[in-house]
């Protein structure tokens, strides 16, 4: 399996997609951190003041806002094989296509871990500098580290989820658009409507919120349950994708 994982890394790092996604994620997380800190303590924004435990929790979990880029990273990792027709040499080299999907899941989980560490570091540095300038830089204590870590874990799980979604849908544009519409349109609606909001905690967005819960919201699972559920969605998508889509004829 290790040669296949290394081959997937070679694919990822031999084009510039990863640079764009990582830079984009860093810029986004800086922007969110600056906005959050700038409006902290402002009574109209509802964001708690710098130095309060609630502010620090929000600031540490901020990295999770770039989850969509990690989803796209995973989606591109899988669907590029179909988009650029490299599925042919890939499956000629590895006729057991389930092994290819497994290698991608592992390769992207590891790559996303590295990227998530960068994003978390950038987030912490931004918050430390900006909140420090406003009077109280957060410390890397156990609470803050835990929140930071769970936000990073969420990013990694979203990359895995993206690989699974890509395997299921095969079409790159379709998977990205579908993923965005689901995350930003469908789930918020489900979350708002009282009749369906009970089911929200079982959905990927609800699981993510449970993992990184900061705001008071609807009823959610325990953080670890949310993480397991989210990872489960990604793996189920990958398994379904392998059997329903990836094994189909490559004509």
């Amino acid at each position: 399996m290790m040669p296949l994982v290394r081959a997937e890394w070679a694919k990822l790092f031999s084009t510039r997609v990863w640079i764009g996604l990582l830079l984009g994620a860093c810029l986004m997380v800086i922007g969110f951190a600056v906005l959050l800190t700038a409006f902290a303590g402002n009574p109209e924004s509802g964001i708690p003041a710098v130095g309060t435990p609630l502010y620090e929790e929000l600031a540490m979990a901020n990295a999770v806002n770039v989850n969509v880029l990690f989803l796209i990273l995973g989606i591109i990792g899988m669907t590029q094989e179909y988009r650029h027709r490299t599925a042919t040499p890939t499956f000629l080299t590895t006729p057991h296509r389930g092994r290819v999907v497994t290698a991608k899941l592992m390769a992207y989980a590891l790559a996303a871990t590295l990227f998530a560490l960068v994003v978390m570091a950038v987030n912490f540095a931004t918050v430390a500098v900006h909140a420090g300038a406003r009077g109280a830089a957060p410390e890397l204590d156990a609470d803050n580290l835990g929140t930071l870590g769970s936000s990073g874990l969420a990013l990694v799980i979203y990359a895995v989820f993206g690989v699974g979604l890509g395997a299921l849908l095969r079409n790159q544009v379709g998977a990205i658009v579908g993923g965005l519409v689901y995350l930003f349109v469908i789930e918020p609606i489900i979350r708002q409507i009282p009749a369906t909001s009970g089911a929200y905690k079982w959905m990927p967005g609800g699981a993510l919120e449970a993992l990184t819960a900061t705001f008071q919201g609807p009823e959610l699972l325990e953080p670890w349950q949310g993480g397991v559920l989210l990872l489960g969605y990604g793996l189920v998508a990958a398994v379904l994708g392998t059997f329903l889509a990836v094994r189909r004829d490559v004509a």
Partner: protein, 309 residues
Amino acid sequence: MRVEVSGLSKSFGPVRAVSDLGFTVEPASITGFLGPNGAGKTTTLRMLLGLVRPDSGSATFDGVPYAALPRPLRTVGAVLETAFHPARTGRDHLRVYCRAAGLPVSRADEVLAQVGLADAGRRRAGGYSLGMRQRLALATALLGDPAVLVLDEPANGLDPEGIQWLRGFLRHLAHDQGRTVLVSSHLLSEVEQTVDRVVIVGGGRLVREGSMEDLRSGAEGAGSVLVRSPDAARLAELLRADGALVDLDGEGLTVTGLTTAEIGGRAFAAGVELHELRSRSSGLEEIYFQLTAGREQYAATAPAEETAR
């Protein structure tokens, strides 16, 4: 290593692409896999390589199906696709598959040199010409130093020099190194100087399998000869008496059924003056058309070809 295809069938919805197809490909020789567009060649090759699942039948390499080969890239090299990730360099493309197949990454540079792409290897594949992409696809096939090579229309996009190079290269791989080479084409003329054996398909079925020599001897007499003579009408009568099919048009004759030597001999014996005597085709192409399109269709296309000249 011998390739055996037997009873292979595949339908795409209502369209039957391949029907009960069987043939063998022998080692140390080049086999041409011929048929018009839509005859099922690509589908057959993709089934052979485990990319398309056949409805029935089998395709094996020394008895082993592709998906069961322990190290497929080291056994079979295939050129099916000339598409690459446009942002990845040719060299990086090859290195990816070196890693996946457990080959040393140095193989990438070796095969790039082998196909004449050493200078272009560090450029992005998106900027490659079609001919360069064919060469990169061939390089990918050669990575594992395989005993069998399967090539789908490898001459597409190559310039005349490239086609000449490819012919020599394939002959070297098969005749000097003993590899099994299967190369598809929709044009017999493109491969007739290269291949030792032919497998001809039409409408998804096998129509002919055999050596190129057999095909040539079957083609004798099927070719047509162009004759010009001031005494064309008399010569036409003479040749018709010999059973030849003669088409008379002013001073020109198109003769089918006799060789140039036979026609020259008759004309000399009868004292008929000739201004031109040349064979218009070897007859191979005619045989190929007959095999793949059927006689009736061939008869319908022949006059159209006449007027075009």
